[in-house]
Amino acid sequence: MNHPRDESLNRTISYTLRSGTMLAAAIIALGMLSGALTARTTTPIAPIGRFDPSITPDNFPGNLVRGVADLEPTALVMLGVCLLLATPLLRVLACGLQFIVQRDLLYAIIAAIIAITLSLGLAGVLG
């Protein structure tokens, strides 16, 4: 079963995982470093108190995009975290594409179901 197809599949997935994780780590590091160097945190980092489930993050994706555009350290860290969380999804999509190329319908469908469920979780629709 370890024929060339499986090896090219492994290479594709390995590449996706590595690049996603490293890019995410680099953005998180950049955010933390810029926070440390400039101490320019326009949104004050909330002191870590008790978690209150009734307070949802206000305007979550919108604020993040604005913060990243302003190169706000906290927003950069959060962008890195979001990219990190998206990396497994990218990996599942890479698997799915590879299975489509291999005309392996069963596994393409399995990958698609995981990708859809995972996307719903990441988008905050489920759970």
Binding site: M1, N2, D6, E7, L9, N10, R11, I13, S14, Y15, L17, R18, G20, T21, A24, A25, I28, A29, G31, M32, A36, I45, A46, P47, I48, F51, P53, I55, T56, F60, T74, A75, V77, M78, G80, V81, C82, L84, L85, T87, P88, L89, R91, V92, C95, L106, Y107, I110, A111, I113, I114, T117, L118, L120, G121, L122, A123, G124, L126, G127
Partner: protein, 294 residues
């Protein structure tokens, strides 16, 4: 969190990631109690940050493991259907579960993982199994056919060339994986030991295939629940940043050091630390409960 706390958090996460990868216990089982007991972080935030770190370490390590050829991507995909569903259910349950209950479940999971890791020392697995496991002929044909229909059997590399292995009891492993997903999501750990149990004991996979495939799946499982927690505001950048970065650096360092170190004594010591942390979490939760009653 100020700068010194961030640096302290980063160093702690590097150590956690390093020890977690060297001992096979994983990062989450250390990060949660460290955040709660030492940094006085509220449990839901600790669970969120830990899951982000678990995603980071899993993805980092999986990239390296894949090239070794042990990871079985088909088995991972089939079982991920179960773990992702479990993770979303777990995140749903977490919303209604009091902190003390989560802390107690965490404590049990920590002690259990520590026990499994420590027990592994008395019966060490050879790095590469020299003799192939014969395909079990006495298996009921119907059960074998699900694994066959899903084409789950594969080979793993040895010095003498690829060795084939068969896969059994797929449905039992699938249901165990739903439980693994729920646990992972609820208490913020990879729950690698449950996944390895399902693959090693139930499916009868070679040990190295179980551990690498389990690690491969952990990233997807943890990202599903972390995604839910992100929208609940449980992922704080001031925590998740240093914890994820540190754990990733630590686990990559651990992967480099692993072939050169004798990790058995380390594993025992670390298992004891994790077990003590688990007991601490339970004691604190019970004390909180009594305090609330009084």
């Amino acid at each position: 969190m100020d700068l010194s706390a961030t640096i302290l958090l980063l160093i702690t996460a590097i150590l956690g990631g390093l020890l977690g990868s060297l001992t096979g216990l994983g990062g989450g089982v250390v990060i949660v109690p460290v955040l709660v007991l030492l940094f006085k972080v509220d449990l839901p935030y600790a669970v969120g940050a830990s899951l982000v770190a678990v995603v980071a370490t899993s993805c980092g390590a999986a990239a390296a493991f894949l090239r070794e050829g042990f990871t079985n991507v088909r088995i991972a995909l089939v079982l991920e259907l179960a773990t992702v569903a479990g993770a979303l259910v777990g995140a749903g349950i977490a919303a209604f579960t009091p902190r003390a209950a989560v802390a107690i479940v965490f404590g049990v999971v920590a002690i259990w993982s520590a026990w499994v890791a420590a027990k592994g020392v008395t019966n060490p697995q050879p790095p590469v199994a020299p003799t192939p496991v014969p395909p079990t002929p006495d298996l009921p044909p119907r059960k074998a056919s699900l694994a066959e229909r899903l084409r789950l059997s594969s080979t793993y590399p040895t010095a003498d060339g690829p060795v084939p292995y068969a896969v059994q009891r797929v449905p039992a492993a699938f249901f165990t994986m739903i439980a693994a997903g729920i646990l992972s999501s609820l208490v913020g750990v990879g729950a690698g030991f449950v996944k390895v149990f399902a693959m090693d004991r139930l499916m009868g996979l070679p040990f190295k295939v179980s551990t690498t495939t389990s690690n491969f799946m952990i990233g997807v499982t943890a990202s599903a629940s972390a995604g839910v927690y992100l929208h609940r505001g449980q992922l704080l950048p001031s925590l998740c940043g240093p914890v994820a970065l540190g754990a990733l650096l630590g686990s990559l360092l651990g992967a480099r050091l692993l072939p050169r170190l004798n990790v058995r004594p380390l594993r025992i010591i670390f298992a004891v630390v994790v077990a003590v942390a688990g007991v601490q979490m339970i004691v604190r939760a019970v004390a909180d409960l009594m305090g609330a009653r009084a």
